[in-house]
Symmetry: C2
Subunit: 351 residues, 2 copies
Amino acid sequence: MGAKKARPVTLQMIADQLGLHVSTVSRVLHAKPGEGLRAASSPTVERVRRLADELGYQRNPHAMSLRTQRSNLIGVLVPRLSDVVLATIYEGIEEAAAEHGLSTFVTNTRDVPEVQRARTEMVLGRRVDGMIFGDAHSDSGFLDEVAARGVPFVLVNRRAGGHPAVVCDDYLGGRMVAEHLLEQGHQDVAVVAGEPYASTGVDRTGGFADRFREAGLPIPEHRIVHSRFDAQGGRAGTERLLATGPLPSAVFVVNDFGAIGTIGALRDHGLRVGADIAVVGFNDTPLAAELPVPLTTVRSPMREMGRRGLRQLVRVLAGEPGETELLRPELIVRASSDRAQYERLMAKVAG
Amino acid sequence: MGAKKARPVTLQMIADQLGLHVSTVSRVLHAKPGEGLRAASSPTVERVRRLADELGYQRNPHAMSLRTQRSNLIGVLVPRLSDVVLATIYEGIEEAAAEHGLSTFVTNTRDVPEVQRARTEMVLGRRVDGMIFGDAHSDSGFLDEVAARGVPFVLVNRRAGGHPAVVCDDYLGGRMVAEHLLEQGHQDVAVVAGEPYASTGVDRTGGFADRFREAGLPIPEHRIVHSRFDAQGGRAGTERLLATGPLPSAVFVVNDFGAIGTIGALRDHGLRVGADIAVVGFNDTPLAAELPVPLTTVRSPMREMGRRGLRQLVRVLAGEPGETELLRPELIVRASSDRAQYERLMAKVAG
DNA sequence: ACGTTTGGCCCAAACGTTTGGGTAACCGCG
DNA sequence: CGCGGTTACCCAAACGTTTGGGCCAAACGT
């Protein structure tokens, strides 16, 4: 039979064993360099330190949180963690949090406003020091309320209402895609634009449309459809596009997973991606490169976004003002929209 | 300017405002039905309840944890959350946890033993009530230690060393795939078997190989390669397979993401999945159905696995013995390995 | 020689709960 | 009228820290 779970070591035990007072031990073990210098003589400090890690002392976080009114906990809300984009951002957050001695709670809101509210309350009930929202909706009413309550937070992934946010420069990303398609000679293009409440899709679409307008090729209304961010959404959006007019020569789907759905829908209509029609996604998720016809997409620094989001939050917690950061995207051209690459690919398959 | 962050409401405040003692308020608000019935008269109970939610009272979890030595927190370790399989399992865990009034910490270990150790210590340092490991290695030394320390835990995703676990019946899943390929007439098959320390890959491969052996077609050593669980791994494993002999007629990749890499590698070699070679994955991740040639795979109840894992942990926390559960997988046949479906698909594209 | 500093530590309160044990007032009952 | 039993509370300790304020003795300054 295993060891019973022994009662954890406390400052008190250490103090008793050394004939010291608990406050002394506390200062020795936890005082930041600079204060608490006169807490104990250096031989005493040594004895305390030695005994502490001999016994495997670990500070009780509940007692500490209770006393200091600081939990070193932060809450993270995302639409869904099974979306690899959000999962990767969260990995960045968690990684950086650990480096700062913080722990994170993360939870799904499925983009449902009531769930966002409920989960926020529950997270706040856990007395987190701050929050990170990855699921902001552009009508920022809810976030305004949270801000008004004095809860420190930052946004990642999506921006909203001028709250401090760390996001990809989605507008620029959209422009880059447009630029690329223009270079490839496309004149009649369409967009599967994602959810209208998410700045990601809106900004990507905005940049894309602006660039085409500047090129004298404004994109008509009916060439832009909204959809969910998953494969099903991409598929449905694409079906709608195909139903409402002649075939465009290229389609920009604001999300790689949506693009997968688009590719499926095109296939169902007997269309060959890369030959009959160009497709471009966004985010450069790992599967983009591996598709039978590799997908052109825009790489967004997701992990870095998480890391920086956390760093911003730490700043806010320290009382500094939160800043908004725009991270630079990078266009990754592959066969789904590049004639030359496509030809080479086909040559290989045929050969 | 927003409201300053008001000091949260405490039992004390409620008690003072009502001329009651804090202990009375505590019992009124938190006593389980059955005890504390005689804590207060029903008009008093009413007054307390009303005031409490008028002021928006929320119990301070740190104070409670400190006093009761129970944190209602559980720690979850996974290889990586950006793997949609683990993310989905975690969603199940988190969902069920919320229903039980528990909160979860989750963190990545990247399957690196030192990281597993370090993160476990950090999680335990947060005084969680129990843990769920999704990253067990089959040499279960580390987990044995954790168990010996009296930490309550259960495993999900991968089993190891007889510790209570909730996993897919991977062996059966492997057999199902073999059965299917045998029916399709395959005689020379290969396996991309994943990491050798993960029971998932090992069991799937085991079931698959056993069934083929029973059919009188034992799979030679060189037809089984190990690899990482991601697309890169699948690609690398497949390259090795292709380099070491004649082309097999089918390849079983123990993970959908690996299969994506396999498909990419095959494409690079000018091979058409579904025509020149059959491919089967595992897990039925959302993209499997949406691939240009939809992927045959085995559906494993990932979310349910998470939910049940948490339920097992709750049982263990209640002092009952933890049980191991095997969840039933389901074969999903698609065009990547089914001649008829493939023909139909091609007919549509051509037509 | 005597006041002042400072080094090295102790004291005690406080953070917000929970919980085992009171204790008055009241009721019913014989 | 006296007594046991409720009913409706209150009391206080405890959980493990942190932190502002002591206090005593030794070292220092003049």
